[in-house]
Symmetry: C2
Subunit: 282 residues, 2 copies
């Protein structure tokens, strides 16, 4: 089995590692514009060999794991080179535009739109982790537009690496993911910014930061090259979630200004419900 | 050595466990309005014995580790019962009001105002952890107002359990801690609220949540009984930090509305600097 990973970072690299464990005979090829990453990936054993787009004709599976803006160009290009039985996996965090770009392509049936809900705040081949996908949810969109045999091929891999499958339409995916993923990144980045700005005037403020702050601001380490195009492609949903978030913060501030700390207590108590929700995620 | 822990939760209980390790002969007494917590603490070996305020006359050290609003009542009461050589440790997250309440007390010199920057989102005696304080910062305020011998006694304990000491005036403490601790809690609670509200209308949204969301929203599990009075006592600083945070979020939203994703990229890249800052905290 010939697997091609285009973009050998956290997502593509981790998938390569898990596929190697499950399919010891698979040959893993890597394509990346970053030469250093390709060499690192070979040294780390994430991929076996460097490849070119022209090699894709022999691919059984192609994973396109690159920033969502680059994917809009690369995915149609991949479709030019593959054979009729190649499965192409998109793994991006925003689906509307990528779906549009392949919608009328004669090889649309070779593509499966997926979104594995897995990752860390790190990037590049060194960030690849064995077992990253175990027990994690993989959202599949527009499954009916993919050839049945290729669906089966994909599901077998996802099952073997331990993923839980969830089917969803693109509109719901993009709307919901804005709340549970994209918004968290913005809240974290802006928290980091607020405290860094303060630090400029007040030295040593970070000596006072504990593990709670570290946890809340963790996502502010994430890659701008990955996240800026996600926000762009999911603009309307992200803005809607951001408006609700800002409005909740403003209401909290108003309650404080009104000295209504009973209401603040209740707000927090109601939100403590998140404990039950998070069980099984952490 | 007789140690009294008033409020046997995460902070007081963890301190009791570390003191037991470092001072095997110490006798640990617990005072708590929650009978169940007292019994749990004895079963878990966090304390040795239940006690009353009237027993405090034999105390060498009293740790007042209760919500900051209750501390305003309890701390003066503790001072009525202790002897002249008792060290009383306050460990609250907001300092202005607790300092005022003891400022003119004849036993002011028995009190040391501290803020150990340590904890988790859990509470109660079951949340107590051995080694919680190792390598963590302990902020000491108004050190000059505490009797020198009692300062020495406190510093010996802090050194033995591995804490790094930082001295700070109350105004700076309350202002800075609003940014690096109190604000993170509000950003996390309001993120949790925003997503829970969405979930009410859109079912199963949480199946899509990953470890990034879990990390950002972790502090929303925190105890309202502990946090509501902290926000109340540090109201002005917390409101100021909240205003800056909201303004940064609004500016981010504006950049999105203007399709200025280059500026958004730069915002995120500048905030990536948090990576270096967090080294050693996590």
């Amino acid at each position: 089995m010939n697997i091609f990973i285009i973009g050998i970072g956290l997502i593509g690299g981790s998938l390569a590692l898990d596929i190697q464990t499950q399919y010891p005979k698979a040959k893993i090829y890597g394509i990346d514009t970053n030469e250093k990453h390709v060499n690192e990936a070979i040294e780390l054993g994430v991929i076996h060999q460097k490849a070119q787009f022209s090699d894709l004709e022999k691919a059984d599976i192609v994973v396109v794991s690159i920033p969502v803006d680059v994917a809009l160009q690369v995915l149609p290009k991949v479709l030019e080179f593959i054979n009729d039985n190649t499965l192409v996996l998109d793994v991006g965090s925003a689906k509307e535009q990528i779906a549009k770009v392949v919608a009328h392509h004669p090889k649309r049936r070779n593509v499966l739109l997926t979104h594995p809900i897995a990752g860390t705040e790190f990037s590049g081949p060194r960030a690849a982790i064995k077992g990253l996908y175990k027990g994690k949810v993989n959202i599949i969109c527009e499954v009916e537009k993919t050839a049945f045999k290729l669906q089966e091929k994909a599901l077998e891999i996802f099952r073997k690496i331990g993923m839980r499958i969830r089917y969803m339409d693109i509109k719901s995916h993009d709307k919901h993911i804005a709340y549970v993923s994209h918004l968290s990144h913005i809240s974290s980045f802006m928290l980091g910014k607020t405290v860094i700005n303060k630090e400029k005037n007040e030295r040593d403020i970070f000596d006072m930061a504990g593990s709670g702050f570290a946890s809340t601001v963790r996502l502010a380490k994430s890659s701008p090259a990955m996240w800026s195009p996600i926000f762009k492609q999911n603009k309307n949903n992200v803005i809607a979630s951001l408006e609700e978030y800002i409005s909740n913060l403003q209401q909290f501030k108003k309650l404080m200004e009104q000295d209504d700390f009973e209401a603040i207590y209740n707000e927090m108590e109601n939100t403590n419900h998140i404990k039950n929700i998070l069980k099984g995620i952490e």
